[in-house]
Symmetry: C2
Subunit: 203 residues, 2 copies
């Protein structure tokens, strides 16, 4: 659980992830790559641990006190990152307000292009305040809708967002451009520039 | 990430968890204790890490090759347990079949007494097979419906279930009795025997 930062680690870690996407990712059509064998259905915890280490390295030195993510696939990556950043608390936004969430909560709309649905994501007002300086972590960054919804929740709480980290970015869907235009610092560990004819191209 | 097993750790770890439930758990009515400040909305990763260590200690020596859990609150605990058991893969069952789950999947019904709903939980057939020897891990064990649904998925796959672990058991709701009657080994880290008048009693 000790974080050792070596600058040369970065390339190695990202290569590990890209190799894994090429080896086990399943291309569907021209816009989707399914990585549910190691990231969002079955989880390779050793890989997730290295991903957490890499996020901690990239966001090192920022005054972050909390990690914000969204259920379900973001949780493992957010927890690994939190452990590498000195055991920060992780808050995961919920995709619906559960019946036991009796106190007030912040809510934001989130469009899923993959599932063609609009859902409401919520966080209890107890766990996001204006004293919070957040790092937003998620598995995928595509159109940026989930990250924008999380940033919206942070804004409602008056919290600061110091950075947004995604494991896999599909750059051709414009999410990171949108987030950077709004002033957010975005770090993606594997940036895919195109998915076509069963072929994945990284930046 | 090295697992050091000390028999005297057990009591300490469980006391840590029980103290936390008493300190931060919020009693609602006579059957519900909300622990969303450290377990299932905001996550204390240092505590989750110790919980994972304790599950690894309790299930040490079993021929487990995979951890099965259910989104969303089970994921962090399952990952910590998996890391303490030599980086086993974690598979989390989904509460709905996503549109990108194009291959076959196993499905089981699951009643939530808290939310008063019946949902379908699914796992891709790629990630559960008859070669698998599973440890089922979840945050809560109440009426046992989630654990039974996961065991049902395992049964459909022809997989073996070597054990079922829950962070918090509400013994008065009968889930562990039901699971043990069906022949499963159950380990719960904090067993609550009653919740009444804002008072939590542990076994």
């Amino acid at each position: 659980m000790t974080l050792s930062v070596k600058s040369e680690d970065s390339g190695v870690n990202m290569q590990l992830l890209k190799d894994r996407i090429l080896k086990d990712g399943q291309v569907i059509g021209t816009g989707v790559v399914k990585v549910d064998s190691f990231l969002n259905h079955q989880i390779d915890v050793a890989l997730i641990w290295e991903i957490g280490r890499e996020f901690a390295r990239r966001f090192h030195g920022l005054p972050v006190n909390k990690i914000l993510t969204i259920e379900a696939s973001g949780i493992a990556v957010a927890c690994a990152t939190a452990m590498h950043m000195g055991n920060l608390p992780v808050v995961f936004a919920k995709k619906a307000a559960p019946s036991t969430m009796i106190d007030g909560y912040f809510a934001a709309e989130c469009t899923s292009f993959t599932k063609r649905t609009v859902s409401t994501v919520t966080v209890s007002q107890k766990y996001l305040t204006e004293a919070d300086n957040l790092l937003i972590i998620d598995d995928f960054l595509a159109h940026g809708e989930a990250a924008l919804a999380l940033a919206n929740l942070a804004k409602q709480a008056g919290a600061t967002v110091s950075g947004i980290g995604a494991v896999i970015e599909k750059a051709f869907q414009g999410g990171s451009d949108k987030l950077r235009q709004e002033g957010y610092r975005v770090e993606s560990l594997a940036v895919i520039t195109s998915i076509q004819d069963d072929h994945i191209t990284f930046r």
